[in-house]
């Protein structure tokens, strides 16, 4: 295969050509309520050729039949001819890499029979179902993906990577008359099957959370001091700030460009934020991105100042910066675009006790249930929350929706916890029509003053 790929690249008439070949085996088991919905295995194998003619544009060809790479390379060149770039497209330089990586799992999930995976999902489903009579519907998912990826380009890069991923997750829907509440949790790993065993506790907690929410009162709308747990803080920094750091968004949008000027103040001096695809075994780890740029730590905010952003080779060249290792594609059907890897708020110095002890009336908001951002405005729902009264965690509340302006909110972060945690949840990030892309998020607890919370 390697010879054929390299021969095809040699024949290309374009200024730059890259070939990505992906082979993916997936197993998925889903229980819904009492029923098994899915228990199957799929094989997906295909490739993509991307060619650039600098003063015209990109041509992209994706395919399943790998027999005739030469024709595909030519087709991509023909496609690139169609473009009419108003100015030449340049790519930031990246040292060519030759590297073949393999992974070793303690228990390779590819050797586990489907029966065992089904039994595992069924067990977690049972744990949720049997927790309470108030649980009216459930979902329990087991899914694994093993990807073998080849990336080669006309500059001499040739990389083979293996990427395993296993996810288990449970959803519980509890009902009491018209009152319907739900809770969800999942766990993902890039390591072996053994990591998803014995997670009854995760399933039980999901069920417990949904049932507890039935008795929670809706929060009273108003302005509160909010302490966000690691999960909510992680999702917040990814959604509300991280996407603005993606350079393709910035250079397409004059308003965003103005907003994201280097050196601009983004919070108090205690705030530090980075994106890092090089940390082993995290969900968003990609040692080389889908253009062959090695992963590294990219500081985005340091001491409260904007210091960096995320790039593909094209956006980096366009903005006169360095490629950052963030050009990623969800699979071989798509060209890479600028994406996050593992995004985090760096650890701080305040203990959780110190963070809440002086709060007379506040909210401890946990987990994230979804959110929307539009430039600097965001709105997030937390999964569940508790009131903080006189420095202590008090009763559970629901319908906690945090809304606000990114800059004001970052500026209002006045304490950062010393309990940093990477979140190993199984969700994915969506951008354009590429969803879901595995990303990692991490943060300690953070405290934010004057957060507007909607509600009744």
């Amino acid at each position: 295969m390697r010879d054929r790929i390299q021969e095809a690249l040699k024949r290309s008439k374009a200024d730059y050509t890259e070939i990505r070949i992906e082979e993916k085996e997936t197993t998925r088991v889903v229980f819904r309520g009492k029923d098994l919905e899915v228990a199957n295995a799929n094989i997906d194998k295909g490739g993509i050729v991307r060619s650039l003619i600098k003063n015209k544009g990109w041509g992209v060809v994706s395919f399943n039949n790998l027999d005739d790479l030469f024709t595909k390379v030519d087709q991509a060149y023909q496609c690139a001819q169609v473009g009419s770039a108003p100015e030449p497209i340049e790519l930031a330089s990246v040292e060519p890499v030759e590297k073949i990586t393999t992974v070793e799992m303690k228990r390779d999930f590819r050797d586990i029979p489907l029966a065992e995976k089904k039994a595992l999902a069924e067990r977690y489903n049972q744990v949720v179902l049997s927790h309470s009579r108030k649980i009216v519907d459930t979902q329990a998912v087991y899914s694994d993906i093993f990807t073998h990826l080849i990336l080669a380009n006309s500059e001499g890069t040739y990389i083979e990577q293996e990427k395993p991923s296993v996810v288990v997750g449970t959803t519980a829907i509890a009902r009491d008359g018209e009152n319907v509440q739900q809770a969800h949790d999942s766990l993902a790993t890039t390591q072996g099957y053994e990591y998803v065993l014995d997670k009854d506790e995760l399933a039980r907690k999901t069920a417990q959370k949904a049932v507890e929410l039935l008795d929670a009162q809706s929060i009273k709308a108003g302005q509160y001091t909010v302490v966000a747990d690691q999960m909510l803080a992680g999702v917040f920094i990814h959604e509300a700030f991280g996407h603005l750091s993606e350079a393709d968004f910035v250079y397409e949008n004059p308003k965003a460009r103005e907003m994201m000027t280097m050196g601009r103040r983004f919070g108090k001096g205690l705030l530090n934020v980075y994106d890092d695809g090089s940390i082993p075994n995290l969900r968003g780890t990609t040692l080389y991105d889908d253009e062959g740029t090695p992963a590294r730590r990219n500081w985005l905010i340091q001491d409260g100042e904007l210091v960096g952003r995320l790039h593909s080779r094209q956006t980096a060249a366009k903005m006169g910066e360095k490629a950052s290792g963030n050009a990623r594609a969800i699979n071989y059907r798509f060209a890479p675009i600028v994406r996050m890897t593992n995004t985090a708020i760096d650890n701080g110095a305040t203990s959780f006790e110190d963070m809440i002890k002086d709060i007379e009336l506040g909210v401890y908001a946990c987990e994230a249930y979804g959110g929307q951002t539009q430039l600097e405005n965001f709105s997030f729902s937390s999964g569940y929350a508790y009131m903080i009264r006189d420095g202590k965690i008090a009763e559970m509340v629901k319908d906690v929706i945090l809304a606000g302006n990114l800059f004001a909110t970052l500026e209002n972060i006045d304490a950062i916890g010393n309990d940093f945690k990477w979140l190993n949840t199984g969700g994915g990030c969506g951008k354009g029509n590429q969803f879901p892309l595995p990303v990692g998020m991490g943060a300690p607890h953070i405290r934010i003053q004057n957060v507007v919370i909607g509600g009744k």
Binding site: N40, D44, W58, C79, A80
Partner: protein, 432 residues
């Protein structure tokens, strides 16, 4: 050995789907030609029933047929009891879904069509930014099963999508429309001209006092009414007991001006074909006739679970088993000319487009959406665009009393054919 022949020896029932798709996409972003892509997809999906249990597996690697067969059998070993059988071969209506003129449309011609759209829009409004996606595909599907069913069909979908945004100060206007067809359409720019008319009309911004008023749903806005209905008519929702219409066949649930048809046999439309994705012939299914609920729509599995026959509504992608799905969704045009409907409106709005359709508790029929594009009607005349309004209601209440359904109807979102529908009194919320 052919995978069907092989699996027939190992399972009672076998179904093989071969799918091939070649898609060419041209993209304009902000009036600039940005991207040209060709995507070829090829794969095989297998369903088997062994010892009465259903298994599924799929693969896009045609060198891995052995593994595909093994995966399907393993899936069946732990699968649910299959309540149905794969179908016998049956004659089907002839439906035109393939046109050489579309299948062989050169890339250069697609680029040209994109330019024609720009030439139509930019002179009318130089501050418009157009995102255009032109896509033509050639899809071949072949379904075979152990009963000798062997159906093959080719379709040549062409889709022209046009999004126009115009930002002026705090005013953001976003318009979208598309043409979807599988046979060459002579007047392929008609939809773009329609959009230009809206773009011009949207220049005039006017106000309306929120409150109760007549609301006229344009064909594109009628989706807000149609989508919850399509969920409720789905045989799976009926079987699971979540559809509000479950158990109400033969009852008059809607105004007698409402007739709804699912029709996969219309020539040239996106969801048309002689057969569905399980090899069952497509039909013209009357779901609601003059307000009376007549039928739900089913695939083989949900039909068997409900003790009825498949209505030919199975749809699937390569990597997922079939699910019941509407083909072309037709809300029958009515008797009243649009101009007469407008003439009868003293003060009200036309709803063209809503934000966030499909979110929330859709199955219950409830909706609550901000209006993305709406026009004010005053004494029978369209006088301008109204902003910052929202409507909410429940379609099961609203469609019980429909004041008028227009004679004129349009294809929107490729597979929906809808007239203008007038609700004489609805609450329109907004800042007064």
């Amino acid at each position: 050995m052919d995978i069907l022949t092989q699996l027939k020896k190992q399972a009672e029932q076998v179904e093989i789907l071969n799918l091939q798709n070649e898609k060419t996409t041209i993209e304009y972003e902000a009036n600039q030609l940005k991207n040209c892509a060709v995507a070829e997809t090829k794969g095989t999906a297998v369903r088997v029933i062994r010892n009465g249990r259903l298994g599924f597996a799929a693969s896009s690697d045609d060198t891995a047929m052995e593994k595909l067969a093994a995966n399907a059998l393993e899936s069946a070993a732990y699968g649910d009891k299959a309540p149905f059988s794969f179908p016998e071969p049956e004659p089907a209506p002839i439906v035109r879904t393939f046109d050489k003129a579309v299948a062989e449309l050169p890339i250069a011609r697609l680029v040209e069509i994109g330019q024609e759209m720009l030439d139509l829009i930019l002179p009318a409004d130089p501050s418009a930014r157009c995102n255009i996606i032109l896509e033509r595909s050639l899809i071949s599907a072949n379904i075979r099963n152990q009963k000798g069913l062997d159906v093959a069909f080719k379709t040549s979908p062409l889709s022209l999508g046009l999004e126009i945004d115009r930002v002026e100060g705090d005013d953001v206007l976003i318009l979208y429309d598309q043409l979807g067809t599988t046979v060459w359409e002579k007047d392929y720019l008609a939809f773009a001209r329609r959009l230009v008319e809206k773009l011009k009309m949207a220049r005039i911004i006017t106000h309306i006092k929120p409150g109760k008023m007549p609301v006229l749903f344009a064909p594109s806005g009628a989706l807000a009414l149609g989508l919850p209905l399509s969920e409720g008519l789905n045989g799976k929702a009926v079987y699971k007991g979540t559809s509000p219409m479950a158990g109400k066949i033969g009852e008059k649930l809607f105004d007698e001006k409402i007739t709804i048809i699912d029709d996969g046999t219309i020539d040239g439309k996106f969801a048309s074909a002689s057969y569905d994705d399980e090899g069952v012939p497509h039909h013209r299914n009357v779901l609601v006739e003059k307000g009376v609920l007549k039928s739900f729509f089913y695939d083989l599995k949900t039909a068997a679970q409900s003790g009825v026959k498949s209505t030919g509504n199975a749809a699937r992608g390569l990597f997922n088993p079939p699910e019941p799905s509407l083909t072309n969704f037709v809300i029958q045009p009515g008797q009243t000319p649009l101009k007469d409907i407008l003439a009868g409106m003293d003060e009200g709005i036309i709803v063209e487009d809503l934000l966030g359709i499909g979110q929330g508790n859709m199955i219950s029929g409830a909706f609550s959406n901000p209006l993305a594009l709406a026009f004010k009607v005053e004494k029978g005349e369209i006088v301008g665009r109204v902003k910052d309004l929202s409507i909410a209601g429940n379609i099961y209440d609203l469609l019980m009393n429909v004041t008028a359904v227009s004679k004129e109807a349009q294809w929107v979102y490729n597979t929906v054919h809808a007239p203008y529908i007038l609700i004489s009194e609805m609450n329109v919320a907004g800042k007064s």
